[in-house]
Symmetry: C2
Subunit: 397 residues, 2 copies
């Protein structure tokens, strides 16, 4: 056996891989994936944009670029982010190879093996993987429908050995689907101020809101720009252009950015120029706004369809909330339930979802399940949800 490093020896084949293989089985309806529908990608628009580029830009798409990103994309993306009120000028912006790389870089920047970091429970699996890969001990703090449990955060913040950072996804949480309230964000800010715990704010689903009334809640903490907290704001083109481009971004205070740039240099030198040229053209052409509007409407339709199906078929003891945006609905079964046998029955019936323990950094709590509606037709949703509901009844009664 090769003499692997200590942190890697501990890594085991993870849930993500199993998830991917389940989700790609053609014979079952998958509510498991977190990928946009293939039919929604702006294939024609990008083809047209690529054709219209000048030769110099086309050549640059094949060439190495600077580690932080192509200057033209950094400029156009800065404009895009400034429209959201983000303090781009006071910080430094870096293109990452998907926001997954942003997580990996930040973990490496802050975590020595054994260091404690704070996340939400449940938590995005890519973050669990990145933090664990850096050797972090993950302490996860439960969320309710308004956000993180502030009492627990206060305890953590008061410890003499504070955690290395807090990671949250306040906007259409993956997997919990929730949207933080403005009050909860304010309390979170007050708790962290002056505590030397950087905040990683992951806004991967930005733009995918379903109702005007909740737009006020979408203002990033980074845009509130609170004193006394180092906020590292992350975003992604995955949901507003295509994950296959592998482009995310990180907006961070200069001292943090500096370290992140060095880490990125050794990680992959630079993000794909070809993708960056496409994203830049997509922003500059003005197509990104109407595109986001169109997918937002489509995901709202799919969410509404799933909401109706769940109302019609789920037993009453299953708790869930109507999504306000994003890709996911999170089901909570009665205390003591186990979603793994439900998954087995559902697969037999021809539908698949992700069990809750996948999103538990401790891998235990499992009376929950994630359903995604982002990649399903109404017909699939109407056929698939009764299968899930039946499996729940068969197991939970």
């Amino acid at each position: 056996m090769p003499r692997f490093s200590a942190s890697v020896s501990a890594l085991r084949s993870s849930a993500i891989r199993e998830l991917m293989s389940l989700a790609s089985r053609p014979d079952i309806i998958s509510f498991a994936g977190g990928m946009p529908g293939n039919e929604l990608f702006p294939v024609e628009a990008v083809e047209e944009l690529l054709g219209g580029l000048d030769l110099k830009t086309k050549q640059a798409a094949f060439q190495y670029g600077p580690t932080p990103g192509l200057p033209s994309l950094l400029e156009s993306l800065s404009g895009f982010l400034e429209q959201k009120g983000l303090p781009v000028q006071k910080n430094r912006l870096m293109i990452t190879t998907g926001s997954q790389q942003g997580l990996s870089i930040l973990a490496k920047a802050f975590v020595d093996p054994g260091d404690r970091v704070l996340t939400e429970y449940p938590c995005f699996i890519g973050a669990i993987a990145a933090f664990r890969s850096a050797g972090a001990e993950i302490r996860s703090i439960p969320v309710d429908n308004e956000g993180l449990d502030i009492a627990i955060l206060q305890e953590e913040a008061a410890r003499p050995d504070p955690a290395k950072f807090l990671y949250i996804t306040p906007y259409f949480h993956n997997p919990a689907g929730i949207l933080y309230s403005s009050e909860r964000k304010q309390k979170l800010i007050e708790t962290l101020q002056g505590r030397d715990i950087p905040l990683i704010e992951d806004d991967a689903y930005a733009g995918l809101w379903f109702h005007e009334e909740y737009r006020e809640r979408l203002k990033p903490i980074k845009a509130i720009d609170p004193d006394g907290i180092d906020v590292c704001y992350m975003g992604s083109f995955s949901k507003i252009l295509g994950p296959g481009l592998r482009l995310g971004w990180l907006l961070a205070p200069p001292a943090i950015y500096e370290k992140c740039e060095l880490i990125k240099q050794s990680a992959d030198a630079c993000s794909p120029s070809f993708s960056q040229v496409i994203a830049d053209a997509f922003i500059r052409s003005g197509r990104i706004g109407p595109y986001i509007t169109s997918v937002r409407q489509e995901y709202r339709r799919r969410a509404a369809c799933m909401t109706t199906a769940l109302r019609n078929h789920l037993p009453e003891y299953v708790r869930w909330s109507e999504p306000r945006g994003g890709f996911y609905i999170w089901l909570t079964l009665p205390e003591g339930s186990d979603s793994t046998p439900i998954l087995k029955l559902a697969i037999d019936g021809g539908a698949v979802f992700v069990t809750g323990n996948t999103f538990d950094p401790e891998g235990k709590r499992n009376n929950t399940m994630r359903l995604s509606y982002c990649n399903n037709t109404p017909e699939e949703i109407e056929r698939g949800i009764p299968i899930i509901a039946r499996a729940i009844r068969d197991v939970c009664g």
Copy 2:
């Protein structure tokens, strides 16, 4: 100041960044970069290939792919590598986000902070950055014109605490420009056999040979497939399609591959699908062979032009070898010389190169300099080399 991890606190702004900024100054002739000439990229061919794809493939270019790579590219690349005699079936193949990511992943797989790894002296800066970022102590073994110093390797291999791996770039070495002899490779194999030191064989310049007579030397150690050594073979599309796609590959024994896949999953989930679709189409269309032939001929012309200019202008005390392929010529000045003041004079004169200490893991030895000819017209080479030669004379007499 944020509480960075120990390994990151030690990272300093590196030579790579300075190099990039020097190389991009429009007012000076750059022999510093290791990037292909922009005018050589197969822009039209790729445009045509993209236009000819079916809708399903176009959509897949926007979508997440499996962590190890798109199945279609893994299949076509396997065929490409089997033509080089590589034992693809006995190993596992993974697409990486540039071969830089391959280095970063392997470093993470094997290195705990403080672990010793072996490289060549001089050594590719991307490897130095990746290994150092993982916390490695780098022990570099000098190369001569035929390859690594075997006596020193034998000493290292006999230590009771063997190094975690040996990293070499035997084919048109960056920066030394050398091509290992078959004898030296054989001795290296014999030294490593049964020693529990995996070999990382970096073949990024494969295909860019200038003379038929040296083709025999190009057979990868991985293709020789020696018993008793775990060989991790790395390659890249950067020089045979375009670095802006950020696509490399790693062919590794299954046990090593397994860990690498988990690391990649947490690093960036998957490499860019858009790039992978392009590379796959480029291989399957049969265009890759003629394209490699055409760039090989062009780089040979540029190398010949630089060779002539160096013969005409360099003082006799500068030692160098005519390149047999690849991108670089490595100049060795008399013992005790320092190439840094030469670089300053050269920049004043309007030309730039990379000082030798950049490629020294210890950052010291500096009586050497790297000139690259890959991205220059004959006219630039003829104007630039006299500037370099004059700077050498001004400093070394």
